[in-house]
């Protein structure tokens, strides 16, 4: 991971840099995703770049490692393999292929594999590769065949199959047209079984000519355009990472919906989540004796008869105004049902009507689904162009799934952007921004303050410009998640201590101070009255004359008081500390410490006595 320091330049001096890992999906799918890294291990791959630049092989290993670790964090059920071709030694399941070395079979990546890949990096890594595998003859056909076997040997259901070839040789078989032909045949076999083949071609002297050979090997790009093959070879690690990251994950729709413009005008669109909060994973239970995972089964039974209850023997209820209101389980669902899933166009508004603070959840991305409704892409594209041209957004009512209540979204047009290497950095489509209802907006009384003087404003402006940097959304790793995985890694590999994680969202205080220099004091002199200390606590508002003994309010309530409150429905008036105390007092176990949970617990406890 790049140092955050790297971004901490004034932006004029800054170069384009792209960095970061990719997190995986939380979609429920049948089958596993699989990815095979097929890496050229010929001598050419080990040639170091100028000025000590890493070799192509080094860069590849770095990328493989970053994919491994990101898979572990975000999609540990994906299967990944690492296969080398053009080796001297051979190692594959039935040893039926020469010069193909299966380093990692298709499996879930784990701590050991990450270490293995670490071991292949740098000078030592190159030495290790030379010792164990060496460089020899090349037959891409055999390598592809071997990979095909890896896929077919897997007994699990595979939902997405991808193979990435990393090489810097555009003509791997020289003049041997038979080998070329074999490779083509095998590649078409793979493609036919649903494997997508990508080329991650890297720089070599004289350039990389895709049309010589590899154009027949790789899968055609999604949009049937020429874009895929026009890609320049990668000469930077960041470019390579970016390119791999863009392909490594299967795009999955959260849902496919119709965007209805009017009766009979339905455009099919797919909804994609492009930013999802990654959390620490939840713990799993293990059997103490064997450390094997146990499964948990939850069942509901009748307290008196002890018999297990069927779903039909259970109803749902809520209590309001001291009354329990009961519904059938399917009624609970129908209450939430307003209409069939879909997006309904309400109209358009100028972009400035979209308020910055109208944010309630992460946006989703919309892209047409030509496979569902033919003609969608054209209409979608026209809508996108016109919305951008007129600087408007489309307001839609959105029901994203069956029995989901409606939300309103602003469809904001987004133009496609590509970087210098013609890699897409922003896809074309609409971002759907979820808008708040009246219930979601809280009334906040704004305190009145005096206005800042122009001098003060100017001083602050100076401070601001001293601390300018170029923000990039992928520059900050989550220290909590990273620390958690380093800990697990250390335990899994029996390391003495976990690797250090750098907290990238910590302010670089020293650098900031240094940059600001005397500005801070100048600003303070302008703004703060003499002797003002913003860090001191404001004087306590109410000082009681009595000694500290009376400070804590009485936390106890008698049972009678509690019962009276319950009878009058005024239990909610008690404060959380008092409720907690009451729970403790009567030995009531609660599910949580939220007020509602405490109330529920108390009510349930005393129900029998009322």
């Amino acid at each position: 991971m790049a140092e955050w320091n790297a971004y901490y330049h004034n932006e004029d001096e800054e170069e384009e840099q792209e960095e970061g890992e990719q997190s995986g999906g939380d979609y429920k799918v049948t089958g596993r995703d699989s990815l095979v890294f097929l890496v050229d291990a010929s001598k050419e791959m080990f040639i170091k770049g100028e000025d000590g630049q890493p070799s192509n092989f080094d860069m590849t290993m770095e990328v493989v490692r970053s994919v491994y670790t990101s898979k572990i964090i975000s999609s540990h059920r994906d299967l990944v393999a690492l296969v080398f071709y053009g080796t001297e030694q051979s190692k594959n399941p039935r040893n039926s292929f020469k010069h193909v070395y299966v380093y990692h079979d298709l499996d879930e990546p784990g701590a050991k594999r990450v270490r293995d890949v670490d071991g292949l990096q740098g000078d030592k890594g190159a030495q290790l590769a030379a010792d164990t595998m060496g460089s020899g003859e090349t037959s891409l056909g055999d390598a592809l065949w071997c990979c095909a076997n890896l896929y077919s040997d897997i007994k699990l259901r595979l939902s997405h199959k991808r193979l990435m070839i990393f090489t810097c040789r555009d003509d791997p078989h020289g003049d041997d047209s038979t080998k070329d032909r074999q490779a083509r045949t095998k590649a078409s076999d793979l493609k036919e079984t649903g494997v997508v083949i990508d080329l991650m071609h890297m720089m070599k002297p004289g350039g990389f000519d895709v049309s010589l050979f590899f154009c027949d090997i790789v899968s055609p790009p999604e949009d049937e355009s020429e874009l895929g093959l026009q890609l320049e070879p990668c000469d930077k690690l960041d470019d390579l990472k970016k390119r791999v990251r863009a392909k490594e994950q299967k795009k999955r729709t959260m849902s496919r919906l119709n965007l209805c413009l009017g009766k009979g005008i339905n455009v099919a669109v797919g909804m994609y989540a492009t930013a999802v909060m990654t959390r620490k994973p939840s713990a799993i239970r293990l059997y103490r004796e064997t450390n094997e995972p146990v499964r948990s089964k939850t069942r509901t039974f009748h307290t008196q008869t002890g018999s297990l209850l069927l779903p039909s023997e259970i109803k749902k209820a809520q209590v309001y105004g001291k009354k329990q209101i009961v519904m059938e389980r399917d009624e609970v669902d129908t209450i939430k049902r307003f209409d069939d899933p879909g997006l309904l166009l309400m109209g358009f508004k100028p972009m400035e009507k979209l308020k910055l603070h109208h944010h309630i959840r992460p946006a989703v991305f919309l892209y047409p689904e030509e496979d569902e409704v033919k003609g969608s892409t054209c209409l979608f594209s026209a809508l996108l162009m016109k919305c951008r041209e007129k600087n408007v957004f489309a307001l839609c009512r959105c029901i994203s799934r069956r029995n989901y209540p409606p939300r309103f979204v602003a469809l904001v047009p987004q133009k496609e952007e590509v970087d210098h290497g013609k890699v897409q950095i922003t896809p074309p489509g609409f971002n759907a921004i979820f808008l708040p209802y009246a219930d979601d907006i809280r009334t906040v009384d704004a305190p009145q303050c005096p206005v800042a003087s122009q001098m003060q404003v100017n001083k602050m402006k100076e401070i601001v410009s001293k601390l300018r940097f170029k923000y990039r959304s992928d520059a900050f790793e989550n220290p909590v998640v990273q620390q958690h995985y380093r800990n697990l890694e250390a335990l899994a590999l029996d390391m003495m201590a976990p690797e250090d994680t750098e907290d990238l969202i910590m302010p670089k205080v020293e650098q900031i101070d240094q940059r600001l220099g005397p500005l801070v004091q100048e600003f303070k002199d302008l703004v703060y009255p003499n002797g003002y200390n913003p860090e001191s606590k404001p004087a306590a508002k109410r000082k009681t004359g009595q000694s500290g003994a009376e400070k804590k309010p009485k936390m106890e309530v008698s049972e009678d008081e509690l019962k009276a409150h319950m009878q009058n429905g005024t239990l909610g008036k008690l404060t959380v500390p008092i409720l907690k105390e009451a729970c403790k007092q009567f030995g009531i176990r609660t599910t949580g410490t939220k007020k509602q949970e405490l109330l529920d617990a108390l009510t349930q406890h005393f129900q029998f006595f009322l």
């Binding site: 005008i265 069942r299 892409t377």
Partner: protein
């Protein structure tokens, strides 16, 4: 509430004021019950046949009944209003009733903390009220800080001060009947006098009609939460810190209560018990005790036992509450669609800080179009975030808006095919102009005659329809158990549709769109094989022949082509595959009784020509009896 006999009078075809007043109260109480506010409420009826109030002495304060004392409203109250409150046959002085209410408030709020005291009078003012002590009453209302609201069957206009002429008001308003009685006119004057004494400017704004009130109360109350203040320090580097206070300003509000499971027979929660058991993943599903399990985590394929204690000790820790500036960046680099989390926090200068010299630092840089990137931590226990603080300058206040931004791990960098560079999907000029006029016809923001912008669809003023429907159904089930759930309220249904003006205006442009953009739903079919593939050509060939979707000859040709391809690899494994193809070809040929296999033989001959001796050897080794049926040709004759 006035339940006296005049409240049941109404013109033919109109609902009597009594029924309307009852509806107002029902709706109001409903809202209170579901909003679960801690507001307390009492109900005093006047015009009742009996008398029940503490001021009942010496024939004073007659026909006034305290129906319910000051307490939180509940369904019991709703049921009572539904079933026990009827029109009665007496009349009572509404000013007396007001005094009873004031007395009740005074008695029953003793020792309670409260924000506000309010008396709502629902009456037709059709009683001769005695103006005695009117000044004392007003004085006491002022002294106790009690506010008043009147709900009447008819509207009150401001220009009628001093008597009022009923005819000028126009007879159209329901409830007006034949105009106002002398008592009503008299009472009206007194009411206005009281209201204007309490609030000279806007006193009359607190007088409503029943019908308006019902309309406004049909929505359930929006969820209101008092924002908690979050005092902190905004820091820039080690020595510049600015005191701030944050409030959650926008957040996705959820219903406070979850559904609980109850036994379907008894409707009792305690008749159900949920239990979680753990079992091994073996054939017997052997159960293990919870105490015999430990905590662990997945690290890819590894499963790592990791106790709670260890986890706690090794986990990421930080210094707690924090709002520290990491740097400033161009606002254009922080993309709206990358906002994450589910809230927006407004950051102000603290209220009580008298020494605070000026508005928070926000105003000082907004001209630069820059935002601050900050590290935010709510407290020691919560995870730190990275986020952006946007300066926000409003007419009457300035603040910072804080929104969380994604971490690297949160982003998914999907790529999608280009739309503009794809000729297949490029819209024509006609199509573009159709979209153009559609957008023009569907603009929700327009300028009115005064040049002001009017937004006809403000989402942030709409109550969450899910909550509205939820409460509607709960209410229905509570008061009419055993009946099916009601349909959605018409106003709610309408609020979720396109505004009518827009629907009408966009008809023609939509018709144009329909004409210019052909849209056809793709029928979902099972994938059908259309050609002989390279992986298992023999199987594909058999399937295709069976399907009969393609001419026999064509399929044969495809297979032949594949065989050629396979053979050109000059590799034993491919030869074997070719042979299975030839087998398939033969067996299918027999089935369809086509004897044109000479074609193949002709081709085979070609292979032999190009020197596939190894293949030929395999062929003739006898594993296949290739030409055993009616076209017996000596194989050897093909050899070169």
């Amino acid at each position: 509430m006035d339940v006296g006999f005049s409240m049941s009078n109404s013109a033919p075809g109109e609902e009597p004021p009594f029924e309307l007043a009852k509806k107002v109260i029902q709706k109001f109480v409903q809202r209170q019950v579901f909003a679960e506010t801690k507001d307390e409420l009492a109900l005093v009826l006047f015009g009742t046949d009996s008398t029940k109030n503490p001021l009942d002495q010496d024939g004073q304060y007659q026909n006034i009944t305290i129906h319910r004392h000051l307490m939180m409203p509940d369904f019991e109250l709703l049921e009572e209003i539904q079933n026990q409150i009827h029109p009665e046959s007496q009349q009572a002085d509404w000013l007396d009733a007001l005094v009873v209410c004031m007395d009740l408030l005074q008695r029953e709020t003793k020792g309670k903390k409260y924000d506000r005291l309010n008396i709502v009078l629902l009456t037709d003012l059709n009683t001769g009220a005695s103006a005695d002590h009117l000044d004392v009453i007003i004085e006491n209302l002022k002294k106790d800080g009690i506010t008043l609201q009147f709900f009447l069957p008819f509207p009150v206009e401001e220009d009628e001060e001093g008597g009022g002429d009923a005819d000028r008001r126009g007879p159209s308003h329901p409830g007006m009947g034949k105009g106002l009685s002398r008592e009503q006119k008299n009472s009206m004057d007194m009411m206005k006098h009281i209201m204007l004494s309490l609030d000279e400017e806007d006193g009359l704004d607190q007088i409503y009609t029943f019908t308006n009130a019902i309309e406004q109360l049909c929505m359930f109350k929006r969820i209101e939460r008092r924002p908690m203040s979050w005092p902190c320090q905004l820091t820039i580097g080690s020595s510049l810190s600015i005191r701030i206070v944050g409030y959650k300003a926008v957040t996705e509000e959820k219903l406070k209560k979850l559904w609980i499971s109850v036994d379907a027979q008894t409707n009792k929660r305690e008749d159900l018990k949920r239990e979680t058991v753990y079992c091994l993943d073996d054939d017997n599903e052997t159960e293990v005790q919870k105490d015999d399990t430990i905590q662990g985590f997945r690290y890819g394929s590894d499963i790592v036992p990791f106790s709670k204690v260890d986890q706690e000790q090794m986990k990421y820790t930080h210094d707690g509450k924090c709002f520290a500036v990491l740097g400033f960046t161009k606002q254009s680099l922080v993309h709206r669609h990358q906002f994450i989390g589910n809230q927006v926090i407004k950051i102000f200068a603290p209220k009580d800080d008298e020494e605070w010299p000026c508005r928070p630092s926000s105003g000082r840089w907004h001209e630069l179009k820059m935002v601050a990137i900050v590290r935010y931590a709510y407290d020691r226990r919560s995870n730190p975030q990275v986020g952006a603080a946007f300066p926000c300058i409003k007419q009457d206040y300035e603040c910072l808006l804080y929104v969380q931004l994604p971490f690297t791990e949160d982003l998914r960098q999907f790529t999608f095919p280009s739309l503009e560079n794809n000729k297949k999907f490029t819209p024509s000029d006609t199509q573009l102009s159709a979209v153009d006029s559609l957008i023009d016809s569907m603009m929700l923001v327009e300028e009115n005659e005064n040049g002001e912008q009017v937004d006809m669809f403000k989402v942030h003023q709409l109550p969450n329809p899910a909550f509205q429907r939820h409460f509607q159904c709960l209410h229905h089930r509570a008061v009419s158990p055993g009946t099916p759930l009601p349909p959605m309220e018409p106003w709610l249904k309408a609020a979720l549709e396109r505004p009518e003006v827009i629907s009408e205006r966009c008809q023609a442009p939509l018709e144009e769109m329909r004409k210019t953009f052909p849209l056809t739903e793709v029928e979902k079919k099972k994938k059908v094989k259309t050609s002989v593939g390279s992986v298992d050509p023999a199987r594909d060939f058999r399937i295709l022949i069976k399907q009969k979707s393609r001419p026999f000859g064509e399929v044969c040709q495809q297979l032949t082509h594949r065989i050629e391809q396979l053979l050109s690899n000059k590799n034993t494994q491919y030869y074997m595959k070719s042979i299975t193809c030839i087998q398939a070809f033969r067996e299918q040929s027999i089935e369809v009784k086509k004897k044109k296999n000479t074609l193949t033989i002709f081709h085979l001959r070609k292979y032999i020509m190009i020197g596939l001796e190894v293949f030929w050897d395999l062929l003739v080794q006898g594993t296949i009896s290739l030409f055993t049926w009616d076209c017996r040709i000596s194989l050897k004759s093909f050899l070169p």
